[in-house]
Symmetry: C2
Subunit: 382 residues, 2 copies
């Protein structure tokens, strides 16, 4: 396999003309992923291992009997009420969005003035920093605490990273690439309230904690914007349906205005589908329960096959963030070699921030035989 395929953004073109904060090309993760061919064991993808569940597909004819034209900007009232009730959110605190991506974008758009600092987890989801920069904010990072070969979530480290210019802190726990659980945030939230700092809590992996109950953080403090979607919890990625919620009525109004100008309203067929799903609580829960148990089983298979008892297993989601041996100069070098020699694709940890540079992200939301083949390949490299 040739290794000359570009995986970095091309050099900036006519930068003076276009938005200076906007990246000049697609994300390095997507570019790296595009090197997979039909035979590659691809553990680079960030999506559920199966398409929309058949039980949900069966609900679609029902929604076709209803109106499918514009709704209120916030989304259909009856769907929002069901959502708020289901998640213990205050009435009129949720806006239905075009997935979590639009929800995060709307929250940043609503909150940021030029030069406002946003604290972002390192390692963390690649898209946060570019989004902050393209909206005129300044991206700063806080480190997830490292304990040998794993990361954990440390509110104290965030408090230390705060400056006078900090406007927003992004939390993503459990997150991507590291599924650290968030634990008790009482003291942290009190500090945010005192300082008037806002928290964007990206909870898209919240329902995929293997043992536990998910509750949106927004309900705990008026400083918090909670974001979630049905993409991971119910494998509805392509339907692009999620939500953003805030108890603070001023903030809620701003989120709604931002959302209105970005997208008018969320996809109405998707709104109605989620309405049907929320109506049937057993169905709602059974799908989540199935994914939780399947991801946990896939995680166990991966770690069993890797056979290294020192590796710490994630407690949520579908990513393992694995340390690479010292013999490789970088995570990119490791991932390139693994792809070239074994045709196994994993994501270099350096894409997720400088604290990720000695790790690779391995998605186990794939068929079991891929996990086995990938584990064998990884093992031969360790």
């Amino acid at each position: 396999m040739k290794m000359a395929i570009p995986f970095k953004s091309p050099p900036p073109v006519k930068l003076s003309k276009f938005n200076l904060g906007l990246p000049t090309g697609i994300s390095p993760l997507r570019a790296f992923n595009s090197q997979a061919n039909a035979n590659t064991i691809n553990l680079g993808l960030g999506k559920p291992w199966e398409d929309m569940p058949p039980e949900l597909r069966e609900l679609v004819p029902r929604i076709l009997k209803e109106r499918l034209d514009y709704t209120e900007n916030a989304g259909l009232l009856q769907v929002r009420r069901k959502l708020e009730l289901h998640y213990g959110l205050s009435e009129s605190s949720a806006v239905l969005t075009h997935g979590a991506q639009e929800a995060i974008f709307a929250a940043l758009l609503a909150l940021l003035n030029r030069g406002d600092e946003v604290l972002i987890p390192d390692p963390g989801f690649l898209a946060y920093a570019p989004m902050v920069r393209m909206l005129g904010g300044k991206d700063k990072f806080y480190a997830l605490a490292r304990k040998k070969n794993s990361f954990h979530f440390d509110p104290e480290a965030i408090l230390k990273a705060i400056t006078k210019k900090t406007k927003v802190v992004i939390l993503n726990a459990p997150g991507n690439p590291v599924a650290t659980l968030r634990g008790d945030l009482c003291i942290f939230l009190k500090a945010m309230e005192k300082k008037g700092i806002f928290v964007i809590s990206d909870e898209v992996y919240g329902e995929l904690v293997y043992e536990g109950v998910y509750a949106p953080l927004a309900q705990e403090s008026k400083q918090v914007v909670s974001i979630n979607a049905f993409s991971k919890s119910h494998a509805l990625t392509g339907w692009r349906i999620g939500w953003v919620a805030a108890r603070n009525p001023d903030l809620y109004k701003r989120l709604l205005v931002a959302h209105q100008y970005i997208s008018t309203c969320a996809s109405v067929p998707a709104q109605r589908l989620v309405g049907e799903l929320l109506e049937d609580r057993n169905l709602f829960r059974s799908i989540i329960a199935r994914y939780r148990s399947e991801y946990k089983a896939k995680r166990d298979l991966l770690f069993h096959e890797l056979g290294n008892t020192e590796l710490v297993r994630p407690e949520a989601g579908f990513y393992a963030f694995l340390p690479i041996p010292k013999t490789f100069s970088s995570s990119l070098a490791f991932a390139k070699a693994l792809l070239a020699k074994k045709d196994v694709l994993v994501i270099p940890g350096e894409f997720f921030g400088k604290n990720g540079k000695r790790f690779v992200r391995v998605s186990f939301a794939v068929p079991d035989d891929w996990i086995k083949q990938a584990a064998a390949a990884l093992k031969s490299f360790f």
Copy 2:
């Protein structure tokens, strides 16, 4: 009927905390519209008079047999190719978006640096100026040329309004609230190319020109971003599916990046539905032909009922922009009085810019008996 119902945004709250460019409340148009009750003859809405056509509803079971998970950021390749072919666009020039709203937002996000001026039509669509401001740009207006009681599109006036800071010109012809046709833009586009100014051409009413063929302006110049959606042409408002297209490859890349960070990809069921629609050219065209003839008939009914032969009839879309009598102090006063005395809701023209302040916007995308009742009410006021 009480007239104390608020129709203006509430006063700013904690402005220092939130995005300074963001409006502090929902649009005045939506606020004014919310005064309608169940009995109001509401000619304030900006949407097709019927929900999704039954022929399109019948296509949905077909798309349920296909994958509905994430697609490429730009959208499904086969759908984009069909779209590009259908509209005579270059290959790889289109991105599928969450309706025209997201497309306009993405175009502005891709193009603007802080302080860049954007020229906006007056009268024109309300959302342009707030979008420009929330993205750090400066909104400036150019006047649509007035000829007695009608407006027409005058490229010369735009050229005169251009300053050294002008980065983008927004065109919306035929538009909202005035359905002026765009005519020959050859000289105008040459000037834009020479000056390096970009044109965002909002073409959502392009397919609703009663006599004529719609062709995206993007194909005519590398400076142009064309935007369209299936919301008006095929009454698919709630599906939120549209597109943005640009021939300039650097600009195209930026549009794609902006779109990726705003929304990941357009709704996949909606992408597939549009794919099916584009596959069946007869169906595609027959729906447009039906709407064109219905809107034209509704326009004729409205103007016949009004009985004033001096009024100029629009040649596209579903809005009449009607002058108000001198006896009223403002378009808002007129619209409030019409609502209070006749329970007929029309939109004050002043919401669309200072050139609209002696007009009201009347949507005729409503049942025929509403048109008759509204015309009688309007006539009694003229």
